[in-house]
């Protein structure tokens, strides 16, 4: 077959299949666990295996319907929720990059060693603070000193300024918490240092040419790898992040569906999990492709 003759395509296909297999098996495990959740709305004649089969059909085939509430299609709810969830995640990571990139690149200029030490020191002391604690403390400080409380519900009706104000605390808490900023900063700093020690870069510098585009190009892959691992991490904790801020994204919908007695919306839960797992799949697949492109010999 023409498509298999190319060694590179074969490897790409292998990576795709590997990640897709991970996606489907994770979904399967979630279905297995969901069927163990006690639910009185399900008549007791339905056995555990029938329940698992039911959830598998819902998740693997796109047989979505109206949600339990009947007002909206599952797809509408999930679309709306994913818009909110991904706004939060990507905005926070953008802010992290905006802070970490210049700070890490300062290594290149080899000045400001004091600033670097101070920055790294403060970060490593602040970084173990988890997102939950950051969120509580930030809400406390904003209420005590600003006497205002940004509520999610203002986000829906508000204009751009209100929305930015409401987004302030969640984005700050996510960007600062759980060592995300620290990891990015460390990675950027290490990679910059590594690149700066390369002989070809020294040659370019000796020529007097600008080095920053070379440095940035070398940084792309490491940043992307860290980005993908942080996205996976944030998606793992999405439920608590959205619960604290009452942010009606996918995680909040999952939590709400799981804790309402009697009206658990399984298609919604499975659909949200599917979207989240798909994001993880996408990013890890792209990361594998890029690593492969850089080091093809690692693929044996």
């Amino acid at each position: 077959m023409i498509i298999m003759s190319n060694d590179r395509t074969k490897n790409v296909l292998y990576l795709l299949l590997k990640n897709a297999a991970v996606f489907f098996i994770s979904l399967f495990i979630i279905c297995l666990l969901l069927a163990l959740v006690p639910d009185t709305a399900i008549p007791s004649e339905i056995s555990y295996f029938e329940r698992v089969k039911d959830y598998l059909t819902i998740s693997y085939l796109f047989s979505y319907d109206y949600s339990v509430s009947g007002n909206f299609l599952i797809s509408e709810l999930i679309l709306h929720g994913s818009k909110l969830t991904f706004t939060l995640i990507f905005l926070s990571l953008l802010i992290v990059l905006i802070i970490a990139l210049p700070a890490g690149l300062l290594v290149a200029s080899e000045k400001n060693a004091m600033f670097q030490k101070l920055f790294a020191g403060t970060l490593s002391l602040l970084s173990p603070i988890p997102i939950l604690i950051w969120a509580s403390l930030l809400m406390l400080l904003v209420f005590v000193f600003g006497n205002m409380v940004p509520l999610y519900i203002d986000f829906e009706d508000g204009d751009f300024r209100t929305r930015m104000f409401v987004l302030l605390i969640p984005v700050a808490a996510i960007a600062l918490g759980d060592g995300i900023l620290l990891d990015f900063y460390n990675k950027i700093r290490d990679e910059t240092r590594k690149v700066m020690n390369e002989p070809w870069l020294k040659a370019v510098k000796a020529r007097g040419l600008p080095i920053y585009n070379h440095v940035l190009r070398a940084l792309l892959l490491p940043i992307f790898i860290t980005l993908s691992s942080k996205i996976t991490y944030l998606i793992s904790g999405i439920i608590i992040v959205e619960y604290i801020f009452a942010w009606q994204g996918l995680g909040f919908m999952i939590w709400r569906s799981l804790e309402t007695p009697g009206a658990k919306d399984y298609p919604l839960i499975l659909g949200s999990v599917k979207v989240l797992l798909f994001t993880v799949f996408l990013f890890s697949f792209i990361r594998d492709i890029l690593t492969y492109k850089l080091n093809p010999q690692l693929m044996k």
Binding site: T40, N147, M148, E259, G262, A263
Partner: protein, 525 residues
Amino acid sequence: MKYFIKIALSFSIVLVFGLAHAQQNTGLRYIESENVASLNPYENSSLRMVNIRFHELMFEGLFRYDHNQEEFVPVLAEDFSAIDGYTYDVKLKENVFWHDGERLTVDDVVFTFNYAKDESNLRSLSMFFNNTISEVNKINDRTVRFSFFNPNLGENLMSLTYWILPEHLLSEGPAARREFARRPVGTGPFEFSQITIQGTGRLVRNNRYHGKVPNISNVQMDVLPDIDTATLRMRDGQSDLLVNTPISRIEEFERTHRLEPFQSYNVHAIGINFENPLLQNRDLRRVLVHGFDRRRSLNQWFNGRGSVLAGPFTSSSPNYNPSLQVMEYDVDRAKELLRRAGFNTDRQGRALDHDGNPIRLNLLVKQQLVTGMSNVIQDFIEQMKAIGIDVNAQFEISERYERRLYFEKDFDLALMEWVINPVYDVSHLFISDNIYPGGHNVMSYRNSQIDELFEEYRNTDATRRLRRSQIMYEIQNILATDIPCIFLFNFDQYAVFSNRFSYTLIDPFAFFTFVNEWEILDYYE
């Protein structure tokens, strides 16, 4: 000084915003803590109060039960006549229009009741209808004939208070039903306008309403599950009504808002499992009651807004026995009863049963509690420990709670909450016929006297009021001394209104029944 200015400034900004909002707003914005489920009232997955309240704004029934006058009032019906005890003819009001312009006809009524009896719809309601109404027939263009199974007037009329749905929109099949669930149409004072994904629902005034056209021009329902954010919005003036205020948070609104009380029929109690031989000892049960200071818990966590109960009836229920005496908190008496029952205390102060083992009781609790009840539970555990009884609280999610309570009977004590509709009776909780897996007598309480009294009550005709009261009084006396469960509290219920509204009469169950008569103060418009 600067600090005070800052506070005043930010407060005034918020106030100006709030006032500006209010000036343009002749509407009602109210806050619920849960999303509305289906917009078709007969296709919910559960009969939650959120749905009932929202539907009450849009739909109406043939009759309505006035809890103050304790009588049935006709709404969509004009009159009814009883052919015999089992058959009633109901005459429909003329010139009532649906929100889409069609006229209300007898076909709608017939269709609604057949739809409600269909078991593929809301199961718990359909069971009720199938047990109460045998047939619904159209007599002529204005009259419907209902045939009932029992001659119980109260129950029969109660079945006629449920909402009427439009036949022309629902009889065409599943696609039409889907459309109806997205855009419901009723005959009530407000018309459906929109519902957003967050759960915000918007309704507008029905100008062709057959009764008094409401003063309020539109209604908006916001969903805020967190009571703190709801409180903040009420304080800022961005919302006018908080429907489900936890009783422990009422104080925050006392000075700035109107508190509209409505009769509450909630009864909180700690049920006792009579299958545990220890608890069959009545002295031990008395110890549990005497050793728990219910009044102090009520005062401390709920500001005294409620009453301590001695039986399953609240003071606003009919047939409430006013001479009932609450067993007061008395630690010495509790310890003496413990000793008298033969339970000695060891050196560490723990009470020992007849085998010499320390007494340990499980308290089964549902995980999501009424705000403030977790403090009551902690008080109970502490005070029991002071007497020497070790109580261990076990929290379960509501599914497992129900399974342990109703089916496995795996508990010693269980925190329960009942909402007792005054038209129904409480016998199903205490008669021994209901002791089976899934039955309501989860306490496995057997008392032949109680069984006989409830039987007599059911067989006594409704017109013999004196005798019925006497029976109920007797039942309450027996329950108070026999202690089938530790009756805790009945909380007052308040709806919190902003001061924009001057007249706000509410119905204790459906809430918005009289919304078309509510009045907004002029100078806010």
